[in-house]
Amino acid sequence: MAKQLYYEDVEEGMEIPPLVKNPTTQQLVKWAGASGDYYQIHYDKDFAQSTGLPGVIAHGRLKSSFLAQLMTDWIGEGGTLKKISVQHRGMDLAGEQMTCKGRVTRKYIENGEHLVECEIWTENPRGEKTAPGSAIVSLLSRGGKS
């Protein structure tokens, strides 16, 4: 498991280590089964095209989950994801690489909690942000530990 991140390690503007995903049609089918979302635009090319899409696209909720993984991987087990917000702006075609990225926008202490706000997003191979969002996490503090 990844090492633990502490509040003191984080500065505004800092980048979150990116997470690369390659959602294939097979992964979308697994996601359909695990999430119960069986909408055909996510696995049936003809159906997707009949609704005007260029092809099979990744589930928005899968992308939000990728971004949640970006955060939970980064904050480590001692951290807690308190809030995540994701807008699905662009479509990601099955088979296209997706990179989850993020940056710290604010750090502050509130009610004794060490909070960090981040902007997060998924990026397609053309560098377009297809799912921008934000997250708030509470981190462990070195000061609070001892």
């Binding site: 995903k21 089964g33 999430s35 119960g36 928005g60 909720r61 939970t72 087990e77 308190k82 809030k83």
Partner: protein, 159 residues
């Protein structure tokens, strides 16, 4: 646009429509399948021994997973009703516009959650390709102790 306003009227009458409370059981296998579908190997989601020794004491859900409803119905049915109305009105495309989650407590395998969903709101906007409808759904999740564990607010875009 006449058909646009027809959709609007039907949808407006549906605002506030709520699901029956849905009981959801959080099972380890379902958590594992969910994590596997994301491609997230975090042992907190899949390794029972590992999770036992963590601060959670049990396998926890990846963010956004709340277990499976014991019975059909709930949000999927409500979305089906709304989707059906849109389909009949000739709006075939519904896209997931995004989601906001707020997490208050960890969700562990073995928890039994109760979710309450409702069709919160909708608004219309003129997009590049014509009229777009933004539909907002809200869900709250309580655990077996009656504590609020999470809230979700999701947006669907119909065009």
């Amino acid at each position: 646009m006449t058909e646009g306003s027809a959709i609007t009227d039907e949808l407006r009458s549906m605002i506030g429509m709520a699901t029956e409370p849905v009981i959801m059981e959080v099972e380890r296998g379902a958590i594992r399948r969910y994590a596997d579908a994301i491609g997230d190997p975090n042992p907190l989601f899949s390794d029972v021994e590992y999770a036992r020794n963590s601060r959670y004491g049990e396998v926890i859900c990846p963010p956004g997973f709340f277990g499976w409803p014991l019975k059909r119905g709930g949000m999927m049915e409500l979305l089906g009703t709304i989707g059906g109305a849109l389909f009949r009105a000739g709006v075939p495309r519904i896209l997931d516009g995004g989601v906001d989650y707020e997490f208050f407590l960890p969700i562990r395998a073995g928890d039994i959650l109760t979710s309450h969903g409702k069709f919160a709101d909708f608004r219309e906007r003129e997009g590049r390709t014509g009229k777009m409808l933004f539909i907002t759904m809200e869900t709250t999740y309580l655990n077996q102790n009656g504590d609020l564990v999470a809230k979700a607010r999701s947006t669907l875009i119909a065009l």
